[in-house]
């Protein structure tokens, strides 16, 4: 597939390009958010199958990449976007996921080093899935003051975290090495305990879970 990367570090852009090219993808790289937006906004510009962008880029080194991604998503709502962040910033995740979670990913830059996980995230986001970095989920759960969480068993908490990362029931079953039936039982139990509507779709579920964790619960 055609992948566009926006990343200011030459080294990383180079590494990513070679990694993705080795997987048989067609890669185009940009070193600033402005260049990315300009290239994508040209009349007749091809819409790629996936946009991978760094949050922090020149000139101000704050959140240019994120704003560019949000802008491009508003123009092309179907464009899958995978955002790479230097550090966990829950606000970034919330802003990204605010308007639908399908085809969206928010992962820590460090995950790229775990090449398999990264390539998995690339595939899932490009395929319309949702990927939320486990670090973000951990942070949200840690910050959540909701006492309902205490009612969950340890296994249910693990399942909840994986749900929040955007995993489907199948993926959760693989990850925890249990059967599908067991996962479905856990999910139903969790949703019941938390009072959330049952929803088999992983993408809508991740939103519901994250919002539930965040709502009235953040300690900040």
């Amino acid at each position: 597939m055609r992948i566009v990367i926006a990343e200011d570090s030459v080294l990383l852009l180079d590494g990513l390009s070679r990694l993705l090219a080795a997987e048989g993808h067609q890669v185009t790289g940009y070193r600033t958010a402005d260049a990315l937006v300009a290239a994508m906004s040209r009349p007749g510009a091809e819409i790629p199958d996936l946009l991978v962008t760094d949050v922090r880029m020149p000139p101000s080194h704050t959140d240019e990449g994120l704003r560019a991604a949000l802008h491009l998503r508003s123009v092309h709502p179907d464009l899958p976007v995978l955002v790479l962040s230097q550090y966990v910033e829950q606000r970034y995740a919330s802003e990204l996921l605010a308007r639908g979670a399908s085809g969206l990913g928010y992962v820590l830059k460090d995950r790229i080093a775990d090449v398999d996980t990264f390539l998995d995230a690339v595939e899932r986001v490009a395929g319309g899935g949702t990927v939320v970095d486990p670090e973000v989920v951990t942070q949200v759960i840690a910050r959540s003051r909701r006492t309902d969480l205490d009612d969950l068993t340890r296994r249910e908490r693990e399942v909840l975290a994986l749900m929040a990362e955007g995993r489907s029931n199948t993926a959760i079953a693989d990850r925890l090495v249990v059967g599908m039936a067991a996962v479905e039982k856990h999910v139903t139990s969790i949703l019941t305990k938390l009072g959330l509507p049952p929803d088999a779709d992983a993408n809508r579920r991740v939103l519901a879970v994250l919002r539930w964790l965040d709502e009235n619960g953040a300690r900040s």
């Binding site: 570090s9 990513l16 090449v115």
Partner: protein
């Protein structure tokens, strides 16, 4: 001050009157003995002087009517009165320890602008109008009377005591006892006499101590400075004190302003430094490590199907590791150079010089290690930044670095030894510490240590940076 000089004077001269408990031992107190000596001396000496005064002053005054000869007599009397006053002050100081300050001198008439001499009549007038000399004359008269009174009273008390004792011992033979005290039993008379003797002994001590104190007071009033002069002196002292206080307050205010400024400079310098480190880590080591991870991931995935590609990726990754290490080393050196804490400023400066692309000659004096670590670090970073700037901008062919300890106490600066570094180059000059630049940050750092920062960089004539920081902060 807890005790005023006057009250300590009272305690020395007349302890029986002011010091609690001293009354009990008053007759045997050393103060009583010296008071007796004083009173006796005063009586003899002041009586002599007052007799002379009684004769000389009225006589001179009388002779004023006769050809004015008496005027000369009065002049002599008044000049002598000043001498007498000085002698009497010395006597009092010697015998009682009370120091009476000299009075203000006689106001001399202005000199004649032509001859340079004082006019005769004006001089005469100034002597005759010398109020302090007249006060000394008055003291000679009043003081003598008072001394006589004190000594008479004290002696009378002492004599009374002796008489009472004698009466108690041999009095029953006397006609007074036989007639007047016929009705009283003799032992009661003896007891009464002894009681009277005791009271008289104490009374004499009190009289002689109190009299001496009053004599000193009288001398202070008439032989010391006039009350107007004392008031003037007090006012001057108060004014001086106020001036000093105001100066202190002003310098404290100025110091507060300087401290506020340098503190915010130090904070912003530290902040800038932290941001630089964060940026360096983010753009450098962190990115490199991520890229390294990607590279290793590629190698691992390629290991089976394409060993050649895997080897190339590993080769690449190896290079990355080495570069990351070098970058971290530089970064750490920028935070705090290990060589500075391990080997001292001299070695650290030599290390800086060795890294500089422009030839650097380092001259480090002995004793640099005496400086505070913060001062040494500031000096090190000043030189590091200066050398970086020289390499980047100056187009110089040689640089000279001189580090030394200087002793200096200048106005507005902190006293004591200061660590001075001077960096001189022969480049094109024109350097200035622009806001946000490395030099500006260093200036904040130096200012926070109460140091001085001087940059001389005329265009075309090289640059000379002089920084001084106190060795101890």
């Amino acid at each position: 001050m807890t005790t005023s000089p006057a009250s300590s004077l009272e305690a020395t001269i007349a302890p029986a009157l002011v010091v609690p408990g001293a009354l009990r031992r008053a007759p045997l107190a050393p103060a009583t003995a010296s008071a007796w000596a004083q009173a006796a001396t005063a009586w003899v000496w002041l009586l002599c002087v007052s007799i002379v005064t009684w004769i000389a002053v009225p006589l001179s005054a009388g002779f004023v009517l006769v050809f004015g000869i008496g005027l000369l007599g009065l002049v002599v009397c008044l000049l002598a009165a000043r001498g007498f006053a000085a002698a009497e002050r010395s006597r009092i100081a010697l015998q009682t320890g009370a120091v009476i300050p000299s009075p203000e001198p006689r106001r001399l008439p202005a000199r004649d602008p032509e001859s340079g001499r004082r006019r005769f009549w004006a001089s005469l007038g100034s002597v005759l109008g010398d109020a302090r000399a007249w006060a000394a004359v008055a003291y000679a008269v009043v003081g003598a009377l008072f001394a006589s009174l004190v000594l008479t009273l004290a002696a009378a008390c002492a004599g009374g005591a002796i008489a009472a004792v004698i009466f108690a011992v041999v009095g029953h033979e006397s006609s007074f006892a036989a007639n007047a005290l016929q009705a009283v039993p003799w032992p009661l008379v003896v007891a009464g006499s002894l009681l009277v003797a005791v009271v008289m002994v104490w009374a004499s001590a009190l009289v002689v101590q109190g009299g001496t104190l009053l004599q000193v007071r009288l001398a202070g009033a008439l032989l010391g400075p006039s009350s107007a002069a004392r008031a003037r002196a007090r006012a001057q002292a108060a004014e001086q004190e106020a001036r000093v206080a105001e100066r202190d307050a002003r310098s404290a205010r100025e110091r507060a302003v300087v401290l506020t400024q340098t503190r915010s400079q130090a904070v912003s310098a530290a902040d800038t430094e932290r941001r630089r480190i964060e940026r360096d880590l983010h753009d450098g080591a962190q990115q490199r490590l991520v890229a390294l991870g990607v590279e290793l991931g590629v190698a691992r995935r390629a290991a089976d199907r394409d060993p050649a590609a895997a080897a190339a990726a590993l080769e690449h990754a190896h290079g990355e590791v080495k570069e990351t290490l070098a970058e971290l080393r530089d970064l750490v050196r920028g935070i705090h150079p290990a060589v500075l804490s391990d080997r001292g400023l001299d070695a650290a400066l030599s290390a800086l010089a060795a890294r500089s692309p422009v030839p650097v000659q380092v001259e480090a004096d002995d004793g640099l290690e005496a400086a505070d670590p913060a001062a040494q670090a500031a000096a090190y970073f000043v030189v590091a930044e200066a050398l970086t700037n020289v390499a980047k901008h100056a187009e110089a062919t040689s640089v000279h670095v001189h580090a030394s300890i200087v002793e200096r106490a200048e106005a507005g600066a902190v006293d004591g030894a200061r660590l001075r570094v001077v960096v001189t180059d022969d480049g094109r000059g024109g350097a200035e510490p622009a806001p946000g630049s490395g030099l500006a940050g260093l200036r904040g750092r130096v200012a926070a240590l109460d140091g001085s920062f001087d940059l001389t960089s005329p265009p075309g004539a090289g640059t000379r940076l002089t920084v001084e920081v106190p060795c101890a902060s």
